[in-house]
């Protein structure tokens, strides 16, 4: 019995080793990357946070890091003047807009790879796929809405205005950091780390990053969203009590 189990285990291990030996040469690991923390905790005192990325490459090349927040639909509104008053008169919905987007690289990205490559990997704001359905907007109008979306996300600090710098030391060790502002949306983020050689991505690694509320912040938020009626009652009771206490203190003076 025991021998049978052991033999099975041995053949399983052998099989795994053989499979690994076949796969590995086809995809050389030229890049290892990690980040300072897999969890950005939004606590009561949260006022933005820097996330540090670091790692090593196996030789000369360019490192590009793209940090992207969870995708979602985003509405953009346009005002125009109606009877002297500026009001929202048109709106468009973009599907799949990253809630956060920032890029860091060793050199300007245009020097690292050509546009087609960058576009397929969605590296750089101008290469993000933020298309409006062709049916509802012609090309130049769609571009205007797209530019407005990017401009407004930049104003909120959620799309990086500039390319962050990746510092590469001795063509081996690299590091860079991204700033997440206090308004950073929660959710599962993905960092794509690429190693470019000769205009092609020769290696890539995906690192997950979770941005979430913890402690009191998470409790209040979850309470408000999971038990909205009870939360409403608590809010009303809080207000009544606060008013009563204020009156009691007031009277004593």
């Amino acid at each position: 019995m025991n021998r049978l189990v052991r033999r099975r285990l041995f053949s399983l291990l052998l099989g795994t080793f053989v499979a690994a030996a076949i796969v590995l040469p086809a995809r050389p690991v030229g890049l290892v990357a990690d980040l300072s923390s897999y969890l950005v905790a939004i606590t009561t005192g949260f006022s933005g946070e820097d996330v540090l990325f670091f790692g090593a490459v196996d030789g000369p090349g360019d490192v590009v890091v793209v940090l992207r927040g969870p995708d979602g639909e985003q509405q953009v509104l346009r005002k125009s003047r109606v009877a002297g008053i500026w009001m929202n008169t048109a709106r468009m919905s973009f599907r799949q807009v990253p809630s956060y987007y920032a890029v860091a690289s060793t050199r300007p990205i245009e020097e690292i790879a050509d546009r087609a490559v960058l576009r397929s990997l969605e590296i750089g704001l101008s290469n993000l796929r933020l298309a409006l359905p062709a049916a509802i907007a012609s090309a130049n109008i769609a571009d205007e809405w797209r530019a407005a979306l990017i401009r407004n996300k930049q104003a909120q600090g959620l799309f990086a205005r500039e390319l962050a710098k990746v510092t590469l030391r001795d063509e081996r060790l690299f590091r860079t950091s991204f700033y997440l502002p206090p308004t950073v949306p929660v959710g599962y983020y993905q960092a794509q780390v690429y190693l470019f050689r000769g205009g092609q991505a020769v290696s890539a690694q995906t690192i997950p990053l979770s941005v979430s509320k913890v402690g009191l912040e998470a409790d209040v938020f979850l309470f408000a969203h999971r038990r909205p009626s009870l939360y409403g009652l608590v809010a009303v009771i809080f207000a009544l009590l606060a008013g009563w206490i204020a009156h009691a203190v007031f009277r004593r003076n």
Partner: protein
Amino acid sequence: MQVYLPIAELSLDVFLLLGLGGLIGFLSGLFGVGGGFLMTPLLIFIGVPPAIAVATQSTHVVASSVSGVLAHWKRGNVDVKMGVILLCGGFVGSTLGVGMFTLLRSIGQIDLVISLSYVVLLGTLGVMLMLEGARALLRRRGQGRTGKLHSHNWAHGLPLKTRFRKSRLYISALVPLAIGFGVGVISSLMGVGGGFILVPLMIYVLGMPTTVVIGTSLFQIIFVSANVTFLQASQNQAVDLVLALLLVLGGVIGAQFGGRLGARLPGDLLRLLLGLLILSVGAKLLVDLLVPPHDIYSLGLT
């Protein structure tokens, strides 16, 4: 010191929020108004999303009305019967108002409706208050009080006549019901208690004696604002308790100082100043609507 607001999802300075609550509390103590009409625009101005500002503000209104009404209750200045009829209308109106709020928010017009309602109401009210304050100041040394206790108008010819002993009135219950309804809609849309609209209506339309007006309006505002708080929390998840706590704390302290100063200033001067304040807030909002925006594009709901 920054504090992260869990529902508004942004971080603001604790002392800024306490100071804001204190300033509004001071003004409300000074002028005897709720101050919601100033708090909501200021919250929006410092970056709180309008929906969260309006919803959270209603929590603050409940707290300040409770502390206000207790003092009036003790002096017997609350007409409970009138208050209950007003708040019946108010409940229906505010429920409808929160529904309209949700709808307007989804089609991206809530900011415009909030601003326009403020411009119209604050403009009208500010002019009225200033004219009255100025007139009273000018004829200060003139004649004493003349005229009837209250005037009889169309409102007295409607059915469902009811006797309000404390207000010394015998009028149709439909009028306070309608007033409560209208103020309920407005207060839920604008995030205010509505006292600044309710009080003039109670004096000029219902003809209530001024002694019971403030207490009764505060009495009904508690219930209507509590309804708004509850609905905003359960329908829109827009009430931020951390923000409310800071605003209430600042407001309580500010109201004490405001109340003491207010007791020393003459009423006509107060009315003139309040009118000026209301007009300038209205004017600022009007200018914002008329001046071409910095960017004609903005982000809507995600």
